[in-house]
Amino acid sequence: MAVASMDAAIQHKLPKLDYAVSRSRILNVLTWLTGLGFVVTLFLALFYAGTDVTQGNVQRVFYMHVGSFSGGATAFFVTVIAGIAYLRTRDPKWDRLAVSSVEVGFPLMLITLATGSVWARPIWNTWWTGDPRLNSMAVMMLLYAAYLTLRGAIDDPERRARFASVYGILAFISVYYVFIVIRTRSDTLHPVVIGDSPVESSAEGKPNLDVAMIITMSVASAWWMLAAITLLWHRVRTENIAEHVRSIKARLLDQ
């Protein structure tokens, strides 16, 4: 009887084997929307928005640079939500969501870092410099890389989930810092693309955005956030299947 109730409890904690048809349909629609959105975003960024008079075509990289940061930050914010939810409920599904969101957010932030470096080469005449924005971004990337590495170092699933939840919540401070550093520090070279900067005179490469550029920037940012959610959903689905594989393996070993 006790074993049966334990089995039921374990089954309750496991993800559903097959997704409800409605949920699969939503994900399919979301995937198609994301694909279509990518084409629209590329069209706007490459053809609709005008060429920056000062920077030339490399300014178009900014649409991806700013947008991918929005997507990455969205994914890392989900890590915070999932971390809080796990600490409150101790339900492993929140831990799966947390790790999935870091795995999706990390490559998106890598895109931000790489496109920033590509943009900086012709505008700042260097791929990388010791600027507070660039350094804080690098620290943020290292923090999230450490999140993924450290998870692998803890064997006990409950302890790993608890540790990862707290870590994921605290690591988001670095995302917030990256966002505000160019709005508060006076020793940065990095321009504030949207909004005012306290160091406008010393920032190098701020584009003068017209209406078409602002529309493109907004659409690109919205698309990257949508892409982050779609990729995250697919990643969670994969993680749920992985959890099932682990549970079947455990059952087979018990037999």
Partner: protein, 53 residues
Amino acid sequence: MPVTPNTDAYAILGYAVVIIILAALVAYLVWKQRKLTSERAELEQLERESKQK
């Protein structure tokens, strides 16, 4: 700020980086999902067979 000379090559490089990283991420997700789905099917088959025995 002086007008920057031709920056087209850097724009192309920037977009190539975006597409390569996104394509790698999508390919990884598709590969992992397919691998796990087939592994799950095999294990379920194995489980059914062991129950029949």
